[in-house]
Symmetry: C2
Subunit: 373 residues, 2 copies
């Protein structure tokens, strides 16, 4: 297992990650408290996709005291987006809707340019524009959400960026991120920018993101109070398993491991049928006799993570599959339908999205372009 | 002897510096060629204050071919400015006037904030504003000069900054600048920004500066062609000796080693009389008998560097001092008068300077604010 902000490999042991990263498991009590304050449950919470946190309890304390909090997450524009990229954003939207808070979404064009040798500035610019549309299509509150590119907002936050950079030594960056002497000087500097948005407000920041980004928040938590801000909180999601099995994560670099947001119905159908790792048996007869194993079955796992939010329906799918009543092809077909509906709706929203609201003219965006940090 | 962009200590051996830094001495032939193309000589050139270069010959080739060139220099706003800061700028103005070229002046607020532990962002901001006035008062062409702060222009050159940073490894930065693991990640990144202005035009850049800045240009010359630009040229000045003697350089951190641009007539007089290291003898009688030594005499050296541009007058001062006809106090008085006249004129120009021309509204400044790199 290898988990860094740039690489996720091997079979992920999430309990071990919690220990290694020094985060905390979201236990039943905390989950129930969050659901109570939110006024409802969320499928990703109750099914353990959102599994770890830092200081979520303090965020809820602040909320109860009326001090509020704000949300921050990001996207590295290294290519088109797939289903896996959208999941933490869907959960983020739920948090924004339920708690009525501001949300900052950083498009890290600089990061991807610096870390991916083969990407040109033109590449990351193109993906930045394209990805922002996909992100906005999730349906965030246009007056409480600011989507910005690092390269475009830097003129408004450079002094803050410098104040952060001044507090972080190469030793620290090396220990946290494993930089070697062959890292370029932009890569070494970049973590400072990922910390910037955690200081956009004096309130506590809550970051919903995949757990591989956690090292950045360790840096933030070391320096926040010295700069007059609160340590950021975070809430971590697991990785959505790639089509081919339950190791690593859905990867942007291998096209067929992922379902892309632009995949049409036929492509989705073909990919799921051809590549999705199955927990079923080699023949129908054997499957009817022995049953399938949903725990390692990727289509079932995807349904569980998001696409079948109805618990009783999911339970009967699981039972039917385990008993052999439901065949692999049938299970895959269930997912294909759900996925295609999801993607169609996503693309319809994307067509209609008023991106300027999020980047320039919405209430929060406007305020951000009038501010200097 | 220790010469880095941040420290200059000991007795400077300029021939050794040329060897260590791998630059070239400005020999008589090159100096005469420069003077011929400029249409006149300059005191700092003929008296060896401007002593070393990289590719100045290629700059003159380009000029003769009609391809032109542009000038770039900078200022780290770590405090008020003294006479020593102004000398390379005076020579830069001469170059601009004689060759009619564009000039970019970078105020490195980020650098000084990152490298000086005790400086706050408010400090460097205050000095940036104040220093820009002193720089503009040198009298550059307001339509061909752009004075900018790193923090203010960064939104216009961030992609270029990233392209530079991507090409420089920590190994290289470490080898060139001697960074340790305790350097902060902003310091490690900063050299990329000092390279940026060398790419503001496709023409060859010529940088007039004190030789301690040369390491930055080594980095630039390594990567320029790979990014589609020319290797920058440079023309190096010596350090103006501090009042107390001929070691090190006039230092901003020890107030009495320098004559500040704000020093009034009395202060100048007192400082020169009290602190200026003299090559004279302990008593008038001894001085009349043995004569003084102008080679180690700071007032004489200052007259030679700039303040007595008339060669024959300087020669008679030298002869008189060496022979004992001119006393230490009299020599100091000569410098005091020249210095005070210079400072009065400087402050008069500063009072009247239209700084907006250089930073916003002049022809070049306007063009720069419409450009993105």
């Amino acid at each position: 297992m290898k988990v860094t902000p740039w690489e996720v490999e091997g079979r992920i042991d999430y309990d071990k990650l919690i220990k290694e990263f020094g985060t905390k498991k979201i236990d039943d009590a905390l989950r129930q408290r969050l659901e109570r304050l939110a006024g409802e449950s969320h499928v990703m919470l109750r099914r353990g996709f959102i599994f770890s946190h830092r200081d979520l309890d303090l965020v809820l304390d602040d909320y109860e005291k009326g001090e509020g909090f704000f949300l921050y997450t990001g996207r590295g524009p290294s290519g088109p987006m797939h289903i896996g990229h959208l999941l933490p954003l869907i959960f983020t939207k739920w948090l924004q809707d339920r708690f009525g808070v501001n949300l900052y979404i950083e498009i890290t064009d600089d990061e991807k340019f610096l870390f991916k040798r083969e990407l040109s500035w033109e590449d990351v610019s193109r993906y930045s524009v394209e990805n922002a549309l996909d992100i906005a299509a999730v349906g965030f509150d246009p007056n409480r959400t600011f989507i910005f590119r690092d390269s475009e907002y830097v003129g408004h936050c450079y002094p803050l960026l410098m104040k952060i950079a001044k507090k972080v030594t190469f030793s620290t960056a090396k220990a946290v991120f494993g930089f070697t002497n062959e890292a370029n000087i932009g890569q070494i500097f970049y973590p400072a920018y990922q910390v910037v948005p955690t200081f956009f407000e004096k309130k506590r920041c809550l970051i919903p993101n995949a757990i591989d980004q956690d090292p950045y928040w360790r840096i933030q938590r070391d320096i926040a109070e010295g700069l007059g801000f609160k340590k950021t909180a975070a809430i971590h999601s697991k990785f959505i398993p790639p089509l081919q099995g339950t190791e690593g994560k859905m990867s942007s670099s291998i096209a067929d491991t992922a379902i892309w947001l632009s995949d049409d119905e036929k492509t989705v159908s073909k990919k799921i049928m051809k590549y999705a790792f199955s927990g079923g048996q080699p023949t129908v007869e054997e499957h009817r006799r022995k049953g399938g194993n949903p725990d390692i079955d990727v289509p079932f796992q995807w349904l569980k993570l998001l696409f079948e939010p109805d618990d009783s329906k999911l339970k009967s799918i699981e039972d039917d599959y385990r008993s052999g009543r439901l065949l692999t092809g049938e299970l895959k077909q269930l997912l294909i339908e759900k996925l295609n509906r999801f993607l169609t709706e996503h693309r319809e929203r994307k067509e209609k999205v008023d991106i300027e609201k999020y980047t320039k003219t919405g209430r929060l965006a406007q305020k951000m372009w009038e501010s200097y940090y």
